[in-house]
Assembly symmetry: C2
Homo-oligomer: 461 residues x 2
């Protein structure tokens, strides 16, 4: 199936019409042709009762895979509707990290129902996983990995994989542990396949294993998986015992979520992980109002600056016309610098120790940008505003004030834009917050001060 | 090795000191302990000659893996320094998609040197891959995959993997093709391991295969890999013949690059893929100046609006003080809406057909945000600006003008912020361009008009 061929709408129409005819076997046939990720999208279009009905048509394995992809509300409705046997069937097929994700979203009564239907061993694992702090590596790992011993032969390894592999989230990376469960090596099914059956694992396993602790940040884990092109990353506890793995598909989700979060923070939005259409008006309001409020109130300073120079402005009211342009250009320049640095920090391209290199570069970029914009602006004001539009009050000196302000404010904006995110990181805050809207507020004040200073100097007002 | 333990600086110091003693065997011992991705970072710290020297110390396979991770300039210097035999050794170990990536960055003379040292079959594949347009699925795929026939048994499959697997980028997903190389099924090594040796592939292969065309966008490919949690995605040509696969590690790189690109575009930066510290001042300037220039010049409109209402402003100069606050708040509100929509579009959470749902939601969010801000602002102006700071000229009516403007401009900003990205997408432009800086410029003009309108209505000036 080509990815463009499958249309949720068409499947919806078809299934709806089959539903009217009560032709469930045909619906079942269609559903088994669709990938679980798409079934979940498709279910979004149906009513709650239909969803439960259709879910029951899915084969066991597909049902579990679909269940993981559904949103929290639908999962809740399904668990409500399930008999204990049905619930147990789904839970049996789920990987533990997914079960934990689901439990974290459920109300207490449903959590009880879930835990009642898992065996005691699983329940113990779930409880351990639930204890890891949110956003930690431990919270996204799964304890279901293949572990081998160093004196296993390739044949032993394959036997073990065949016996236990069906329940493992990935079998392709195999971990070698000693008696006390310390991680001593790693190998892959590819290596196993390329060696003879009686070769011993320790002869070819990689001993220089890269791992992460349960309490490390999930973003670090995702970055490691991405940097080293791993399919899975081992997670150890404080005693360096192997307790779980993080698989690449979960790493991608973490990276995407962190990117979304960065983008939201960069634009004065309090992060919210849910998809746009699933968030209500009030929740959207709550994620947007705090920064709007804070930034609005902090604009009191720009108001105060203007008030202080009110007499200058009323003496030469033309100066007011250029305030929006100066402020936007300053804000945009600062914003460019800050997002560049924030992104570079989050991709680990720069480090705290690079701060002077960064500032020196931004100063030079600021000077070149400032000069170019000032020249263009100088000419534009003279020819467009004065001659073409006939705006009154524009003199060469006024033009000069505006152009000089541009140069200085842009250099300032670049410096502020690049230093604040680095300072934030130094102070263990998220650099992403030091982005355009915040920088703009500061740059605005600086720009106005520079503007009025040049006005005093050049125009003697 | 825990990811925090390895320090590039420490390794640099140690190797530098060993280098002074000409103790190359010790250097070699250290390098073989380090992951290729880290060796590449480490090499950045050394001089060019040292890099070439150290590179020659690496074992064959590690050398090739390190080579891929190095930046273009270092790769170029190494290829220059290589003898034909050395170059051939590295090329033999590289996967084809990596070779193609390298060739794309090299000057013509080095490309010749590379092609001279590959066999004719590889050369033909390279030439095919080089023809795919940049950013297409074809340009990031590799033709090195495991293909099976439907009447192969599991035993046949493992034999084939053992024989040819060492050169394949991934062996874990195996593709089943017919005689004319059409893709008819897919299976995994996990499935193979869980079936008996004499089971036939066709009995358990997945026939509902999700694939992509060579000319499709690389971002679509990456999104599919992420959505379906695949380790590899098959790529077919116009005749639906399987010609390559895209592996999950390359998909992660594409996703990260696309995220960086989106963030840059959202902040008025012309995208540039290179890491921050590797871009010169002039190149940085070139990526920042176009939007700054365009946005600066388009601020002519706000200037014109202010000029047109100059008499009102000089009659009541206090109105000027609140222009920065009104503009920033409008810009921030619009920016919030636009980035939210841009992100939702790029994660496929919303679609063109959702436009009315989106607008309706943003209007309601805008009203709630606008009302809250207006109330706070009204009180703040009265108590802080008038009573506490003693700003002259503030009357109840002035306060009312500012607060009413806030409500209307925020609703406008939200509407503009959410519709422009969707229109851009409709017109096949990148929605990311319709972000804060651009929205701000439009919202500024609208806000000023609203402001002066309320001033006329309420203050009768």
């Amino acid at each position: 199936m080509n990815f463009e061929e499958f249309s949720i709408e068409e499947a919806f129409e078809e299934i709806s019409s089959l539903y009217r005819d009560r032709n469930f076997s045909a619906i079942k046939a269609i559903l088994t042709q669709i990938n679980p990720a798409d079934i979940a999208l498709l279910f979004d279009e149906f009513e709650s009762e239909q969803r439960i009905l259709f879910f029951r048509l899915l084969p066991k394995e597909e049902a579990a895979e679909t269940f993981v992809e559904l949103d929290g509300d639908t999962q809740e409705a399904l668990i409500h509707a399930f008999s204990d046997t049905e619930l147990r069937e789904v839970l049996d097929e789920l990987y533990l990290d997914d079960t934990v994700d689901i439990i974290e979203e459920m109300p207490a009564t449903l959590v009880k129902k879930i835990l009642k239907n898992t065996d005691s061993e699983t329940r113990a694992s779930i409880n351990t996983l639930l204890k890891y702090p949110e956003d930690s590596a431990g919270s996204i790992m799964t304890p279901e990995f293949v572990d081998l011993k160093k004196d296993n032969t390739v044949e032993d390894a394959f036997k073990r994989i065949r016996r236990t592999g069906v329940d493992k989230e990935t079998i392709y990376t195999c971990y070698v542990t000693d008696k006390s469960r310390h991680l001593i090596g790693v190998t892959t099914v590819k290596e196993l396949l390329l060696h003879d059956y009686d070769d011993k694992i320790e002869e070819f396993m990689e001993t220089n294993v890269i791992y992460i602790y349960t309490h490390d940040d999930q973003e670090s884990a995702a970055n490691l998986l991405s940097k080293y092109d791993f399919l899975a990353l081992p997670v150890v506890d404080m005693e360096e015992r192997l307790v779980g793995i993080i698989t690449v598909d979960d790493a991608i989700d973490v990276l995407q979520d962190e990117n979304t979060e960065d983008i939201q923070k960069m634009n004065a939005i309090v992060p919210n992980e849910k998809p746009y259409l699933k968030i209500g008006v009030f929740e959207t309001f709550k994620s947007r109002i705090p920064w709007l409020m804070l930034l609005m109130v902090s604009a009191t300073f720009t108001g105060m600056i203007i008030t202080a120079f009110e007499d200058k402005l009323s003496a030469l009211i033309i100066l007011t016309s250029f305030i929006p342009m100066l402020m936007d250009t300053g804000g945009n320049s600062g914003g460019q610098a800050s997002v560049t640095i924030i992104r570079a920090l989050s991709l680990n391209e720069i480090d705290l120790k690079d701060i002077f290199k960064v500032i020196w570069k931004e100063i030079r970029v600021g000077i070149v940008c400032g000069l170019s914009l000032a020249v263009v602006n100088f000419i534009k004001i003279w020819f467009v505003d004065r001659l073409l539009l006939g705006t009154e009050g524009i003199t060469l000196k006024v033009d000069l004030v505006i152009s000089c302000t541009l140069i200085i404010e842009i250099v300032f904006a670049k410096i502020i834009g690049c230093t604040l995110p680095i300072f934030a990181k130094r102070l263990k805050f998220d650099p992403a917050v030091m982005s355009s809207p915040f920088i703009t507020t500061i740059v605005d004040a600086v720009s106005l001060l520079v503007y009025f200073w040049f006005a005093s100097m050049i125009l003697h007002i």
